[in-house]
C-alpha cells in the first residue's frame, strides 16, 4: 500500500514559497555563494596582508592603555598598515595566549608586560617565531638583563634565540608608609643600607604604633606565602641574592643546589624570614596570601612596609594626593648582607610572535617601530613610569625619569637602570617556572613554621624536589 503523501500547508502563500525553494534552488544558491567566495578571496587575503591581529595586556593605570593605543595609532598612520588590536586584563590575556598556542588558532602578536610564566615554555617547545632580526638593530643598546630575559632555549633548534622584542622592564622596590615610620618615632633616613638591616629596622615600628592604639598593625608585609603565584617566589629570590645565592641557576640552565654557598644562602633566607614571622611582626595570614592581598593590606595601612614588583602599589593611589606625594615612600634595595651592592631581579615585557601568525611581517614591522628609543620612551613615560625602558640609555638622556615630580619614580628607576641587576631565572630554564609554580620556597617556610622543621631540612627538601624537576628538563 502506498503511503499517503504528507500533508502540505493549506496556506497558499506558504506552499508557493516551499515550491520555489526547491533542492535545485538551494544547490544553485550554494554553488553561487561558493563561486563568489572564491572570486572574492584574493581581495580579502590582500586586505589581511596589511592587517595584524594583536593581543595587548591591559595596564594597571588608565594612562598605560592610552599610551598603548597611541603607539598603535601612530604606527598605523606611519606605515599604512592596520593593527586590529584588543586590550585585555593580565590573567585573561595569559589564558587566551595559552589557549591560542594550544589550539593553533593564533593572532599575529602578543604584547605582554610580564610573560615569564609562559614564554620560556613556549620558546622551549618551538611555538614562537625567532625575532632576532627585529631585535638586532637595537641589541647593543639593550640592558644585559633585557637581553637575557628575551632569549630562551629552543629544544628543536638546540640554541638560545630572541623570542621577545623587549620594550619594558620592572623591578621590585620596598614600599614604605613614611608617615607611619615617623609616627613610630623612627626616621626614613636612618634605614640601614644592608638587606637584613632594612627589615630589622622597620620591624621596630610595630611596638610603638600598637602602643599608640593601632591594635592590628604589623611592621612587615612579608609575602611568606605558600599560595602564590608570584610574590612569595619573588621575595625568596631576593633574599637568596642578598645572602649570596644568586647563582642557584646559571645562564646555561644548570641548577647549582649542590654548591654549599648557595645552600647556606637559602638556609639563611628561610631562617630570617621564618624568624620574622615567629616574632609576630608579619601578619600570620601572610602564609596564605595571594598576590593581591599584600597590596590591599598595604593600601589599607595594615602594615608599614611591603616588598612588591613595580610602582603599581603607588600608582593605584595616585588620586590620593597626600598618600601619593607625601606618605608613600619607595626605597631601592641598596646592599646585600655582605655589604656589596644588591642585585635586583628584573623581568622584561614586550612583543612575541606565535608560529602560525598569518601576518608575520606586519607584526615584526610594528615591533621594529616600537623598539625605536624615542617611541619606547614616549610610551613608557605616558604610562607614568610603571615600567622602565629596556634600553637604559633612554632614562639617562631624558631628565623626566629622575625628576622628583613623582616621588616614587627616582628610586625605582635608580634600581632598574643604575644599580646592578640580574634576570629572572625563568629565562635560563623553564624548569625554574615549575619550581615556582609548586611554591617550593613557600612550602619550605610552612615546613619551618607549621611543622617545626629546621631551615636546613626544609631547604634540603625543597632542593630535592627542585633537582627532580630540573632533571626532566635538560638543556
Amino acid at each position: 500500500m502506498q503511503r499517503p503523501a504528507p500533508e502540505r500547508p493549506a496556506n497558499r502563500e506558504g506552499r508557493a514559497a516551499l515550491v520555489r525553494m526547491s533542492r535545485r534552488t538551494v544547490l544553485r544558491g550554494t554553488v553561487g555563494m561558493a563561486a563568489a567566495g572564491s572570486l572574492a578571496r584574493p581581495y580579502i587575503a590582500n586586505a589581511q596582508a596589511k592587517t595584524a591581529v594583536c593581543w595587548i595586556g591591559q595596564g594597571f593605570v588608565q594612562q598605560e592603555d592610552v599610551a598603548m593605543k597611541a603607539v598603535c595609532d601612530d604606527y598605523m598612520k606611519a606605515s599604512g598598515n592596520t593593527l586590529d588590536y584588543s586590550i585585555m586584563p593580565f590573567m585573561a590575556l595569559n589564558q587566551k595566549i595559552i589557549s591560542a598556542l594550544t589550539s593553533g588558532d593564533v593572532p599575529d602578536l602578543f604584547f605582554h608586560d610580564a610573560p615569564e610564566n609562559f614564554l620560556p615554555q613556549y620558546a622551549w617547545d618551538d611555538s614562537l617565531v625567532d625575532v632576532t632580526d627585529v631585535v638586532a638593530p637595537y641589541e647593543s643598546q639593550l640592558s644585559e638583563t633585557a637581553k637575557l630575559c628575551s632569549t630562551f632555549y629552543n629544544r628543536a633548534t638546540k640554541k638560545r634565540s630572541y623570542y621577545l622584542c623587549p620594550i619594558k622592564q620592572g623591578a621590585t622596590p620596598f614600599h614604605i608608609w613614611g608617615d607611619l615610620v615617623e609616627k613610630a618615632g623612627l626616621k626614613m633616613s636612618d634605614i640601614p643600607k644592608d638587606w637584613d638591616g632594612v627589615w630589622n629596622y622597620l620591624k621596630q615600628t610595630q611596638a610603638p604604633l600598637r602602643a599608640k592604639g593601632m591594635r592590628k598593625i604589623y611592621a612587615c608585609g612579608l609575602q611568606i606565602t605558600t599560595v602564590g603565584p608570584n610574590d612569595g617566589n619573588n621575595l625568596f629570590r631576593h633574599f637568596l641574592i642578598a645572602n649570596g645565592g644568586e647563582a642557584i641557576v646559571t645562564p646555561d640552565g644548570k641548577l647549582h643546589t649542590d654548591d654549599p654557598k648557595i645552600r647556606e644562602a637559602a638556609i639563611k633566607s628561610v631562617e630570617f624570614m621564618t624568624n620574622l614571622y615567629k616574632e609576630g611582626v608579619v601578619p600570620p595570614e601572610a602564609l596564605s596570601w595571594n598576590d593581591a592581598d599584600d597590596n590591599n593590606g598595604y593600601h589599607e595601612k595594615l602594615f608599614v612596609m611591603d616588598f612588591d614588583g613595580t610602582l603599581s602599589t603607588e600608582l593605584a593611589m595616585i588620586k590620593d594626593k597626600q598618600a601619593f606625594y607625601h606618605d608613600m615612600q619607595v626605597l631601592a634595595p641598596a646592599n646585600k648582607n655582605d655589604g656589596t651592592p644588591m642585585k635586583t631581579m628584573l623581568n622584561a615585557g614586550g612583543g612575541m610572535i606565535p608560529k602560525g601568525a598569518k601576518n608575520l611581517e606586519v607584526a615584526k614591522d610594528f615591533m621594529k617601530y616600537f623598539m625605536q628609543p624615542k617611541v619606547m620612551n614616549e610610551n613608557l613615560k605616558a604610562g607614568l613610569g610603571r615600567w622602565a625602558p629596556a634600553i637604559p640609555q633612554i632614562v639617562k638622556d631624558d631628565p623626566w625619569w629622575f625628576s622628583t615630580e613623582m616621588p616614587c619614580l627616582k628610586p625605582y628607576i635608580t634600581e632598574i637602570a643604575l644599580n646592578p641587576t640580574v634576570p629572572l631565572y625563568n629565562a635560563f630554564s623553564p624548569a625554574w617556572g615549575q619550581c615556582d609554580a609548586e611554591q617550593l620556597w613557600g612550602q619550605a617556610h610552612a615546613d619551618v613554621i607549621k611543622s617545626n622543621m629546621k631551615p636546613a631540612e626544609a631547604i634540603d627538601k625543597a632542593f630535592k624536589r627542585c633537582n627532580e624537576i630540573f632533571a626532566k628538563i635538560t638543556i
Binding site: 595559552i98 605558600t226 601578619p283 600570620p284 595570614e285 595594615l302
Partner: protein, 305 residues
C-alpha cells in the same frame, strides 16, 4: 512455488525494503527527506563543533601516558585527589540535605517566608568571583569581618582560618555550599510544589500527618529528583575551581588544592595545558560512573518526580 507464494515472497521483500527505508529515512520521501536533513544539519554541526570536538580535543590533549607519569610524581597530586573527594562528598551531600530541608520551609505560604526567599536567593544571584573574594577577606584572620565581630563582642582574637588545612578546606566547602544552596533549594521546592495536593489530603484522611506524611508521601515522591540533583551537582562540583581558587587559593602550602585548581595551575601558571587536562582527566574514573548513573536515572519512568 505457487503464484500466491511468489506474490507473497515479493510482498515480503517489498515490506522488508520499506521497513529498512522507514528506519533509514524515518518514513520521509523525496524533498521532505532532503529538507529534514537540511534542518538537522545545523544542529548536527553545532553538536560536532561544541560538544564532540572539544571532548575529542581534550581526550587527545590528555592522551600521552608520559603526562600521567609527570602528574603522579607531583607531590601535590595525591593531596588534590583526597581533597576533591572530600569537597565533592561533603559539599554536595550536606548541601542537598540542607536544600531539601529548606525547600520544606520555603513551601509555606506566609508572606515573610516569601520575602525571606528573595534574600536567600541572593548568593546564587551574586557573581561567583567577587562573592568568593569577599569570603576570602571575610575570613582573614587579622582584618576580616568575622574576627572583628568576635573581638567586638567577646574581646577575643579569632583564629587564622585560612592558615590551617582543615579550616581552609572547610571554608572552601562552606563557600561552595553557600553559593549554590539557593539554586538546589529552588529546584527541590519546585519538586515539592509538583506533588499533587490530593495525595496529602488522602494521607491526612488516613491519619498521616507531620513526620509520617513526610516519610510516606513526600520522601518517596521526591527521592528520584533528589538523587538526580545530587548526581548532577557532583558532576558540577568535580569541575568547580572557583571556591578553592578564590577562598583559600589552594593554601596553606597547597594543602587544600583540588583537581580542578591543580589543572588550572598547570595550564595557566606554567603553560602546561596538556598536563592540566591530564589532571582533570584523572577524575574520569569517578565522573563516568556518575554520568552513567545519572543517565539511567533520567531514563527511568517510575511514578516519581
Amino acid at each position: 512455488m505457487s503464484v500466491t507464494q511468489q506474490a507473497l515472497a515479493v510482498g515480503r521483500g517489498l515490506a522488508a525494503t520499506r521497513s529498512r527505508r522507514h528506519v533509514l529515512f524515518g518514513g520521509l520521501h523525496g524533498a521532505d527527506y532532503v529538507w529534514a536533513i537540511a534542518f538537522a544539519l545545523p544542529y548536527a554541526a553545532i553538536f560536532l563543533a561544541f560538544v564532540i570536538y572539544p571532548i575529542a580535543f581534550g581526550i587527545w590533549m590528555g592522551s600521552d601516558p608520559a603526562l600521567y607519569d609527570q602528574l603522579f610524581s607531583d607531590p601535590r597530586y595525591l593531596t588534590a585527589v583526597v581533597n576533591t573527594l572530600l569537597y565533592v562528598g561533603i559539599g554536595v551531600n550536606v548541601k542537598m540535605f540542607l536544600a531539601f530541608m529548606l525547600s520544606g520551609f520555603f513551601i509555606r505560604k506566609r508572606w515573610w517566608i516569601k520575602a525571606l526567599m528573595v534574600i536567600f536567593i541572593l548568593p546564587w544571584a551574586t557573581p561567583a568571583l567577587p562573592a568568593y573574594m569577599s569570603i576570602h577577606w571575610f575570613l582573614n584572620g587579622q582584618w576580616g569581618m568575622l574576627n572583628n565581630i568576635l573581638y567586638a563582642l567577646f574581646a577575643i582574637d579569632g583564629p587564622t582560618y585560612l592558615n590551617e588545612h582543615w579550616s581552609g578546606l572547610a571554608a572552601n566547602i562552606s563557600a561552595y555550599i553557600w553559593k549554590t544552596l539557593p539554586f538546589w533549594t529552588v529546584i527541590l521546592l519546585a519538586g515539592r510544589m509538583a506533588v499533587p495536593q490530593e495525595l496529602y489530603e488522602a494521607a491526612a484522611v488516613d491519619g498521616a500527618t507531620g513526620l509520617r506524611r513526610f516519610a510516606h508521601v513526600t520522601l518517596p515522591l521526591m527521592a528520584n529528583l533528589y538523587l538526580v540533583c545530587t548526581l548532577l551537582d557532583m558532576v558540577f562540583a568535580l569541575g568547580d575551581f572557583n571556591a578553592t581558587y578564590f577562598v583559600s587559593g589552594g593554601g596553606p602550602a597547597m594543602s587544600t588544592e583540588v583537581l580542578a585548581t591543580l589543572g588550572i595551575r598547570y595550564a595557566f601558571t606554567i603553560a602546561l595545558p596538556r598536563l592540566g587536562v591530564a589532571a582533570v582527566m584523572s577524575a574520569l574514573p569517578l565522573l563516568i560512573p556518575l554520568v552513567i548513573l545519572l543517565m539511567r536515572k533520567l531514563r527511568m519512568s517510575e511514578g516519581q518526580l
